[in-house]
Chain length 412, copies 2
């Protein structure tokens, strides 16, 4: 009897996480070291609940279906936000997971996710090693936030960045038509790291200077400086377009949000209304026409404008994840290392999971302007290659032809 | 000396209005009856301000540039929201416009716009006829709202509908991943007519039933009915996704908006916050996880996902507009008449401007379900052909390669 592998997805959606799943399935099907491929529904919770589905039958013989999966946004296997307890305080989850691993003869567990998911990889790989179990536990990165350490960038980020840049350009076109002073505020995802908001700068081209101002969570937001920035820009431009991270905070470490904040299970703040808050400031203090736009979940799910570079890399990282497993690695995450900016080149390697889990990578200080209201050319050189290329998506009846998510509901 | 033509754009942006401009330029360049082609910046205000730019030099010899213009969102010539006074009360605008017509030897005035713009076409064509001037005044339709009479549909609507349907599908994918009851409310443009919101139903396919509920301004919105609708759907589906028009009103004819309303110069209400208002109702009355998403200006400006059918028809309507002018028509608007649903076929004709100006076409009662929370199959048959086909857009540095709007700022 051969060895089996189990794959699951966790955290927030991206448009490239299914490409990594497709890469894992593709490599596992081809690997002589792997027999059956299982998927756990809703991440590690699906393992705990014994909610596994066989993936061989679904995809093995059907390259067209695998290609469709590669281009499909969000998470084919569903997600969870579940953090394993510390082993010392409660081992029941660990025991249960190992029971499931035994039941299905799992030799490889591949977990696709972000910081929190890598915490699970770290804890599980350490536990299986300790117990002397022959199970390789490997993380495959994904997050639109681009805030994972040890990797040049994260799958999902490039596509979100492409959507944000294209949308910012289209918002600039939309704003250009009236002959009156206008301020437009575009609120972009990012609690603690401004990578997504910085991507709005990729909308600048020969004729478009928007966004004219960029506010990132890496810098303290000062209302007075903001008002003076906007007034200054309005002297130079009839229309001033501003990109702002949802997570900007004032000097008292309070979120600039009109609605106050709540927190999710991980203690992360759930934010909304930052754009509205800035809209109110402009209305009150400057008084010109102002509008705020929240890009909302579309920036992480609009796969119709995915970056081909991003999707292809996500697929290859999935394949690399399997390769690491079958060659004996455990307790690692696959990473991208950039070897050249121009022409852009990356190699795929691995990093110790302890160096990745629970850390957040922010934008380096030197990539933000001294005034703190824009980014420098260096970050543009870094970001640009990640959004290049368009995917060859099929359409059916005028809408994208994605892989069904129906199986997520079958269990009621 | 030949006869010259003048073209201008007015009202809100769409992703197809520049395709109509490209069609007008293309036909005018080829027409032996037309010498120079002028564009007025910012609609009829540009005529009043003598802000005309020559378009021959820009596009005549450059088919590639014309193709780029065809795919570019928003309005190359800028826009205005300016309504001519009634002639009896103040003739100064009329005198000024005719002065400009004479100065530039204008024999044809083509105005691309919606209901309000057609009011200008009606007044001007009536005035020039009365004065015995040899100036043909012709309207070319555009509006994402699809609310113009006498035409099967309006250019701009199909592309907005395609964006809305694709985004709704992507939102459904995004929502599908967590194993918990969730309500998502998607706020879509449309003050008085629900055409754009109805287009969300085009997201339904073999596996996706979202949107599960649709609320249109054609029906009175009742909070109690809404709460019971959502509760019922939550019994059938883990995730309930709702499409709602910004313009829904209660039985007292008041907008369902969290923020109250303001009005623009035409007395149209400026709306925002309808989605938020419904979010609050769900939070308070049902208490499950709820999120609201406002598609905002991207639904009218995201040309990267324009409908090829829409853009091509907009171009052909532009060409038809010129043809009508040179063959002697005035006081008309070009229209689409559908001759067959399957296969979809249209012909381009003209309608009396008096039958179009200042009217709003709403969704027929029979295309809305009896319960008033969904649309029927008939409207799907009507809408589907309009979103078919994808445009062959060029990308440069990872973002769409559109025509510059820089000239709009050159005048300071």
């Amino acid at each position: 009897m051969g060895k089996n592998c189990l794959v699951a997805q966790s955290g927030g959606p991206t448009t490239a996480i299914n490409a990594s799943l497709a890469g894992i399935i593709n490599a596992a099907v081809q690997s002589t070291g792997i027999d059956k491929i299982y998927g756990a529904l809703n991440g590690i919770q699906g393992v705990l609940n014994d909610a596994l589905i066989p993936l061989n039958e679904l995809f093995e013989m059907d390259q067209e279906k695998l290609l469709k999966l590669k281009f499909t946004p969000s998470m084919f296997l569903g997600s969870c936000r579940y953090k394993l307890a510390e082993l010392e305080s409660d081992s029941s989850d660990y025991d249960r997971i190992c029971e499931i691993f035994k039941k299905y003869d799992i030799s490889y567990f591949f977990y696709i996710g972000g910081n929190d998911s890598m915490d699970t990889v770290m804890k599980l790989s350490s536990y299986t090693k300790e117990k002397g179990m022959d199970v390789k536990v490997i993380g495959c990165p994904k997050t639109v936030d681009n805030d994972l350490k040890c990797t040049d960038h994260t799958p999902g980020y490039g596509s979100a960045a492409k959507y944000i840049a294209a949308s910012m350009l289209e918002i600039a076109h939309d704003t250009s038509i009236y002959d009156m002073q206008t301020v437009v505020i575009v609120e972009i995802m990012g609690r603690n790291a401004g990578w997504l908001t910085a991507a709005a700068a990729l909308a600048r081209n020969e004729y478009n200077q928007a966004p004219h101002l960029i506010y990132l969570p890496e810098r303290i937001f000062e209302t007075e400086k903001f008002v003076s920035d906007v007034k200054k820009k309005l002297k130079e431009h009839k229309h001033v377009i501003i990109a702002v991270s949802e997570g900007i905070k004032d000097e008292d470490d309070e979120y600039i949000s009109a609605q106050g904040t709540k927190t999710d299970k991980f203690g992360h703040a759930i934010l909304s209304g930052t754009g509205k808050a800035l809209e109110d400031i402009v209305k009150l203090r400057i008084g010109c026409k102002v509008r705020s736009i929240e890009l909302n979940v579309l920036q992480r799910s609009a796969a119709h404008i995915s970056s081909a570079t991003d999707v292809e890399e996500a697929f290859l990282l999935g394949e690399k994840t399997v390769e690491l497993g079958v060659t004996g690695s455990t307790g690692v995450m696959t990473v991208c290392r950039r070897t050249c900016d121009d022409p852009y080149q990356v190699v795929f390697e691995s990093a110790c999971i302890e160096d990745v889990a629970n850390f957040e990578k922010k934008i380096p200080e030197s990539w933000i302007t001294e005034e703190g209201n824009d980014v420098t050319d260096s970050i543009l050189c870094y970001m640009r290659p990640l959004i290049l290329g368009e995917i060859a998506l099929n359409y059916k009846n005028g809408i994208p032809d994605y892989q069904s998510f129906e199986h997520l509901y079958k269990r009621g």
